[in-house]
């Protein structure tokens, strides 16, 4: 039962990753690409980690996995912000 | 010899060739430096592949330690090269 849920979560996470990657390749401008990348990937990673944590069977490992997710969330939020800000500045300057 | 060995050893050799070609041919310092680093990574990949003994078998730790040493040596050399290049461009800007 747990295995099935875990697999389902991982597959769902991968789906979000796929969507994010397609978005990165297909979307027209930087802002929407950034949007696709950060949102879809953060959610994808969250699902992936949820699936793996269920699979781990050890609370400590599960907590470490969640910690990774939090760190990635913070880093990707901040870097997306910096990239968008920089792009905005270039636009206003030119 | 496992299939994995084949795959990673051949990749390592190809990466060595790619890095070596850039290090020899490119005119820009930064690219040459990256070329040398890529070449090093190829050699390291070969070493780690040599250490591999198959899934679930403990690998040989000696090449792992060698590669760790190699990575630190490589970053030291890269840092010194970049500092020299910076000094050089600063001189050219002033003179």
């Amino acid at each position: 039962m747990i295995d099935a849920i875990s697999t389902l979560l991982i597959v769902a996470g991968l789906g979000f990753y796929l969507a994010g990657s397609i978005g990165l390749l297909r979307l027209p401008d930087l802002y929407s690409r950034l949007h696709a990348l950060t949102k879809a990937d953060n959610l994808g990673l969250g699902l992936l980690i949820a699936g793996l944590a269920l699979h781990a069977g050890d609370l400590l490992i599960a907590l470490k996995l969640v910690l990774i997710w939090l760190a990635v969330l913070a880093a990707s939020a901040a870097s997306a912000h910096l990239i968008a800000q920089q792009a905005r500045c270039r636009e206003t300057q030119s | 010899m496992l299939t994995t060995h084949w795959l990673y050893v051949l990749t390592g050799c190809l990466i060595v060739a790619l890095g070596l070609r850039t290090a020899l041919l490119h005119s820009l310092l930064l690219h040459r430096l990256i070329g040398i680093n890529v070449m090093g990574a190829g050699v390291f990949l070969v070493l780690i592949a040599v250490a591999y003994r198959g899934p679930g078998v403990a690998p040989d730790p000696v090449p792992h330690a060698l590669v760790l040493t190699g990575i630190v040596v490589a970053v030291s050399a890269t840092a010194l090269a970049l500092a020299l290049a910076r000094r050089l461009t600063a001189e050219q800007d002033h003179g």
């Binding site: 920089q86 | 051949l10 050799c13 005119s27 040599v50 690998p59 000696v62 840092a79 290049a85």
Partner: protein, 362 residues
């Protein structure tokens, strides 16, 4: 996991490694090339995780991709438009004369030959090697090495002498860098979002380095990964525009830089004085001595890599009492004119910090 799945993973990893290496080397844009190189390093770390080398994977991600990448990007940033050239003469637009084509062709052939020769010899080598003699020796002596992670045992016990010389290499590089002149100008002060990230990221990084140091005795980790994580904290602080990144100044900085080599020598020579071989730890003491050396090495690696990111002598700290800069004994070889005034050096050294509030967003 089935063998087929592993094979698919292998093929994916190998092809992305080759693609990224080729992309990093083929593009003529320096920034792009560095970014591809960093991505290459990260995939390489995954490949090493796959080949059951987690210690190396950690080091590659932190040092090979992370810090090397940061160093290279900082170098590119200083040359936003100009070509980054090795020679004094301006870079010529590619004039593809016959000679050059012939040269390129020859060198390419040579490189292919080298790779083919190496691959052929390696394939031959695999079939004949009595491969596991050394790995067996390591596992037989692991019990007396003081640690249970075999990689740490090799690095800090069996082949500790290599590691001593490697720390000497790091020290040499940073001494060379410091002798070349002042640090590159700092970065502008971070906005609230980035600053907020830095505020909690830095303590976490320091915590992580302590964890990696401790865990290295029995699991993947160790002084190098810990030192790199410490250095990452310094790099992040510097990127956020902090003037000081926790590096000491003057004599203390030199102590930090030389800590690894120094501790190795103190331990090694003390053992020699006690009638044991150089770096021949008594088994009962080995664990503690290794941790002692690793702690010093971590500090040295952290300090050294941050200094490398500075790219030169860090700006002197202001001594509040006298107002004079507390400079290290290793000064810049040719004081630049803008730093001539004592005490005034602090803010002139980093002109970018003078940007006002309205400039902060860009």
């Amino acid at each position: 996991m089935t063998t087929t799945a592993l094979l698919v993973l292998d093929v994916l990893l190998v092809s992305s490694l080759l693609g990224l290496a080729a992309a990093a080397l083929a593009t003529s844009d320096a920034r792009r090339s560095v970014i591809y190189f960093m991505a290459f390093g990260l995939v390489l770390a995954v490949a090493w995780g796959r080949l059951l080398a987690p210690d190396v994977a950690l080091a590659e991600a932190a040092i090979g991709a992370g810090l090397s990448g940061a160093l290279l990007l900082a170098a590119v940033r200083e040359q936003p438009r100009r070509e980054y050239s090795n020679d004094t003469k301006p870079v010529q637009k590619r004039d593809r004369t016959n000679l050059k084509v012939v040269l390129e062709f020859t060198v390419t052939l040579l490189c292919i030959a080298v790779a083919a020769l190496l691959a052929w010899a390696l394939v031959q080598g695999f079939d004949r090697a009595p491969q596991d003699t050394l790995a067996q020796a390591v596992s037989e002596n692991l019990a007396t090495s003081g640690v249970s992670n075999p990689v740490t045992a090799v690095l800090l016990n069996f082949r500790a002498y290599d590691t001593l010389l490697e720390l000497a290499v790091l020290l040499t590089a940073v001494l060379g860098i410091l002798a070349l002149g002042p640090a590159r100008p700092g970065y502008r002060t971070a906005g609230p979002v980035f600053d907020g990230l830095v505020r909690w990221l830095v303590p976490v990084l320091i915590l992580v380095s302590g964890y990696l140091l401790w865990v290295g005795a029995h699991a993947p980790g160790g002084a190098f990964q810990a030192g790199a994580s410490l250095a990452a904290a310094g790099v992040v602080l510097r990127l956020a525009g902090r003037r000081t990144v926790g590096l000491p100044t003057g004599r203390t900085l030199h102590v930090a830089m030389a800590a690894g080599v120094g501790m190795f020598l103190v331990v090694g020579l003390s053992l020699l004085a006690l009638g044991r071989p150089f770096l021949g730890y008594p088994p009962a003491w080995a664990g503690g001595l290794i941790l002692l050396i690793e702690t010093a090495a971590m500090l040295a690696i952290g300090a050294t890599l941050v200094l490398a990111f500075f790219g030169g002598q860090p700006p002197p700290a202001i001594n509040p009492a006298g107002g004079k800069p507390v400079s290290g004994s290793i000064n810049t070889s040719r004081p630049r004119s803008r730093e001539a005034g004592s005490g005034a050096g602090a803010h002139t050294a980093e002109p970018r910090q003078q940007f006002g509030e309205e400039n902060r967003q860009c």
